[in-house]
Symmetry: D2
Subunit: 403 residues, 4 copies
Amino acid sequence: MRTIDLKKKHHKFEKMIPKNKILSLFKETRSDSEHICEPLQTEDYVVQPIVDVSPPKWHLGHTTWFFEEFLLDPYLPNYKRYHDSYAYVFNSYYESIGKRVVRTDRGNLSRPSVREIYEYRHHVTSNMIELIENHFNEEFAPILEIGIHHEKQHQELLLTDIKYILGNNPLQPKYKDFSNEQLIETEKKEFIKIESGIYNIGHDSEEFCYDNELPRHRVFLEPFSICSTLVTNREWIEFINSGGYSEVMLWHTEGWDWVKKNSITAPMYWHNNNGQWNNYLLEGNTTINPDAAVTHISYYEAFAFAQWKGMRLPTEFEWEAAQSHFNHGNRWEWTESAYLPYPNYKKPDGALGEYNGKFMVNQKVLRGSSIATPANHARPTYRNFFHAPLRWQFTSLRLAKSL
Amino acid sequence: MRTIDLKKKHHKFEKMIPKNKILSLFKETRSDSEHICEPLQTEDYVVQPIVDVSPPKWHLGHTTWFFEEFLLDPYLPNYKRYHDSYAYVFNSYYESIGKRVVRTDRGNLSRPSVREIYEYRHHVTSNMIELIENHFNEEFAPILEIGIHHEKQHQELLLTDIKYILGNNPLQPKYKDFSNEQLIETEKKEFIKIESGIYNIGHDSEEFCYDNELPRHRVFLEPFSICSTLVTNREWIEFINSGGYSEVMLWHTEGWDWVKKNSITAPMYWHNNNGQWNNYLLEGNTTINPDAAVTHISYYEAFAFAQWKGMRLPTEFEWEAAQSHFNHGNRWEWTESAYLPYPNYKKPDGALGEYNGKFMVNQKVLRGSSIATPANHARPTYRNFFHAPLRWQFTSLRLAKSL
Amino acid sequence: MRTIDLKKKHHKFEKMIPKNKILSLFKETRSDSEHICEPLQTEDYVVQPIVDVSPPKWHLGHTTWFFEEFLLDPYLPNYKRYHDSYAYVFNSYYESIGKRVVRTDRGNLSRPSVREIYEYRHHVTSNMIELIENHFNEEFAPILEIGIHHEKQHQELLLTDIKYILGNNPLQPKYKDFSNEQLIETEKKEFIKIESGIYNIGHDSEEFCYDNELPRHRVFLEPFSICSTLVTNREWIEFINSGGYSEVMLWHTEGWDWVKKNSITAPMYWHNNNGQWNNYLLEGNTTINPDAAVTHISYYEAFAFAQWKGMRLPTEFEWEAAQSHFNHGNRWEWTESAYLPYPNYKKPDGALGEYNGKFMVNQKVLRGSSIATPANHARPTYRNFFHAPLRWQFTSLRLAKSL
Amino acid sequence: MRTIDLKKKHHKFEKMIPKNKILSLFKETRSDSEHICEPLQTEDYVVQPIVDVSPPKWHLGHTTWFFEEFLLDPYLPNYKRYHDSYAYVFNSYYESIGKRVVRTDRGNLSRPSVREIYEYRHHVTSNMIELIENHFNEEFAPILEIGIHHEKQHQELLLTDIKYILGNNPLQPKYKDFSNEQLIETEKKEFIKIESGIYNIGHDSEEFCYDNELPRHRVFLEPFSICSTLVTNREWIEFINSGGYSEVMLWHTEGWDWVKKNSITAPMYWHNNNGQWNNYLLEGNTTINPDAAVTHISYYEAFAFAQWKGMRLPTEFEWEAAQSHFNHGNRWEWTESAYLPYPNYKKPDGALGEYNGKFMVNQKVLRGSSIATPANHARPTYRNFFHAPLRWQFTSLRLAKSL
């Protein structure tokens, strides 16, 4: 997700989306990205406080460059690139296309300015509309669909990156009214039993999916049970108070090293103020709601918490097999599964497919979706993935146990 | 394995090994470690050229400390520790027992001397024989068995670490006559088809195994085929000559970063001498044998090679299901599987079990065994694991493909 | 200079500046800082591409905080601080006053916004005018004078930091018309002989100076000669073409390590375009003018060049003794002298004097001034200082030799 | 000194040492190095616990290589190098002669073994005797003299490095009986006044000196006084107890960063044992003697202590001008002076002179000598130099003040 453009992309093109529908999806997507940025001041668009967080203006430019690079340039007659250097500035990881600005340098670039990037966006959006309306064809339709989903992925990052930028500022500025950020766990907490057996895992409809959700295949699951609700802040405070962050036996060795090196004592955005836990939300700093699902935890913390409970995280296959039994929580849920290809996974061809499997090492799968996920962008087979220590996404934890 | 004492240890104690058998196994194991070190000069025992390689004298002391800490001290009447500071010097990762010499500092310690460590070894060995002969009981028998297997694991590291110490010395000294180091692939190379179905995976006999091989459980495998032989040096030279190390599209993103940062152009111990590839073997520097299995490669390299071939690595489950169809190659074979707990994996109790699952993140599983593995120490269900960039073990690659 | 607020500050208060004169100096100084920033876009105020370069908005806020902290807060009746958190955000190195934003984090702070900082400036400026006009007294007058010079120091940094921010942007944007940036060496180049003897070194008038220019004292100089002009770009290209950057014998060991580690092959802002040397100037990218004084070189490079010429850099004492014989070049000239206290140097008392000598280790003295130096801010006894590898100031080189 | 072979070497050859005298000096020097190592166990020769400390066997080999490289190879008829690879293994910093083992890798090399290095030494020593006895000429005599002094410099490092190796081992082994290691300050403590005036500084006799002591030149000194004795452990404990290590205003900024980063609370080799200060000496661990001169302090600490006393360190010129008034303390005394060339300093020609001025940046001068300095190796004009944070030499502090 994160830094990771095009990483999950191709799909089965069994059903072509009609031109009108895709045009309206395109316009809506372009507009949504800009809507997310509306509350920002110009300066908020510029900074990159950690390497994982990109400047909002970079997201706006990069998603635009994608359409210019892979659609306007090859398919729109007589199209001339908007600016010679933008491919260099806004390229991400596509080494086969050209050298790129080093990821850690994105926050050092004051130019192009925010205004210039919006002008670039509008130029490309207009030309794309021209392309779709007057030059639509089946060859580029799937690339267009990917470009739209690519931008939707970046919309999620836009919001999580904005939260990081504002939430780590000493002034703790409010983003905007956002009353539903917290997920209050109102469901009855119970453990749902799942029988052993062969389950079909992976995408199965004619709708869009990414290549890493394919192919659908069979997995045998031993019997297990899985909790109907996510772990809450109340439970997490108990974990803290019981010394969970200082009990080495609960942690992976590298998780423990991470805790020590970074002096971790609570989830990200939590602050202890004279014994009272506060957390930064998009509406600003506030006291912790104990009934809300714990959020902004690393995989290491999720694992240690589960150990402390005498349980474990579900695998991504268990999660997918069980998901119809609980509400999705608007949180990304860490699983025990490593991010790996499915049996008979096929790498897509061509420039877009350049790096399909290139992230499939040393990352953990997350399932579900988050409040930052664009509407209709997630689905039960969706596989998100991040490195074990990362916490700036809306990550949470659902417990499971073997039977 | 590596740095990792006790990491795989508990087992089902369905069958107790008889006292005489375990005494002879103990004596033989103690003697084997010293035999491995016989060709060394005193100085070779001391150095730690990289953090993953421990000084041979540390291995000798650490395996000895294990028996003193977990057996002599609690079980031998009136036993007095040999030296106050040795628990500190030779402890490895057991934080619950006491602070330890930082791993990176092992090579900075000239004392205790090699002679003193051998005296310590002989003292502990004698007392252990006394303990086994005259105080044997069922309580400590499983710990003793683990201690023996623990030392056998370190025997493998002793040899790989010695190879690193000598093979990275500018004088390239010979270890000793070791004519069978290379694995010449004489088998007919063919792809063995394996049907889809439910396979039982994990340890199943009354013999010793580590906890990570348990419990035996069911896995569904989609159909695949797997090569009867390992990739050879000849094939690897083709990969090099075709530009495999400079073709970004073959690599994981983090593998590519590793290649660039470390200027990797060939397997470890390979040197190009005016166009001729040589490699350092335990007998000294020699020209590459093209028919030998490629050795000392990282997971990243194994993956890139398989991509180049249009194939993939097997998962550890595929490997285990298929292994009866090919000879084990005396190489550790990288698999595509991440090192994770089996369903219903149980963490052993007590001090020994302290860190059982603590390495189960961000490592890859290797299957097979190596020429450095002590006789009878490996088995088809044995799960070795290392981080993706590591190469100083006798690692190799077997190709697979989905059907 | 650089990061270094108040580092050179106290002076002999033999002559009190009249209130009206200081008021007008204050107003002019405040206005000058804002004038320097006029050509910037909002985004340019925010970024910190290297640790030595601070965001322009931080300079604007920090110099303002100084007046609030040391003058308004203690001396203006009923003054209330503008914002609770600004002391934290804009404090620099005054650890005795409170914790501060880590220097490397300045570029991560999007808030306070540029507009808010200008409002803060105007608020503080108005209150300062009120303080000076209606509450002027001799107690705070010297602190006020220091505050003004402190801001003048930051004006120099503002310009050099802006050049870095724009000059390292891939779009290489122009700052503004700045036709006199380059120093064309039109003087006749000759070596001026200076006799041996005792010279008086250090500040000697009733005008303002920093504590590090005091006390005036005697230094014996052996005979030497010093060049009437600075080294030119033409000479530097000869140095490059003769292999100066690859001849180890010309360099200090740590200079050589710096060259190798950073792949240095030319002064900062130089780019080789198919054999033609260009450099980035405040007016934008242009071809090198061979008659201009070489600029943006490190001490290491200055030393190596002098070695190549068979000469050396002058000491700061030689420079001061000889300076009346040549025009100051509007460049900071590296000297061979380390930055050390003069005999009988006195550390000023009180909070302002907190760290007076604290930079007097491992830095080299530069003499002269630069085009970025505010008018009347430099003088022949002025001692600037930077670490040997730094190049983003307008640094240059004047040759000397012993006789 | 330290890592720094040949760094101070050429001298005025006004008086040629007679052949017999230099032969006996050569033999004695070769023998002395081996005598220093006699108490070592083989393992002690091998390790390099920090980059500044070289393995003793490397010192033995490197000083030997020097004679082979610069004397036997060019001057002894038919001499054949002892081993092809030794020039590579034992070369230090002479990049013009060939690539060298990276300094940080010296402790990773178990071969050549200690025995092999002694054999190499004896081979070279014998051949050198042959050269001196039968082929002596004026061309190589000065190189021979430098080679001898070069080895004497390494003798000092041998002892300080051995102390580091043993003193940082958890077993704290004794080196040997060494009753005079501590310097008990029995002199009456008083401040000696020195008048202002022109002083001649630098070497002035026909005896050997290094190039950095030349040429003798004039320096004007303002009046000052300097203490007859060194600072004692008693005074240092007062400094500690008064909070000297936690009072930021006493320290240079970079000194303070060093204190914080390394958690420095006392001189090197000091350990606080329940409120009692111990220190490791060559005889082993013992309680602090309060009357002994404080030893193993960094320049940063020396400066902070002097600030705390309201005094300062002497410059090297003050020290040289005053030195006849006090006993040299067998400690290296930090001065305030940076290590810089004297006026009209000449770089010696040829391969030996390769890097003469190459260390003259960012180091501080130390004057005096230490208990590790070979007899007759130091003199009042001798300039030693180290980086400000280094402490493993026998460094101490003499206070001074301006009048």
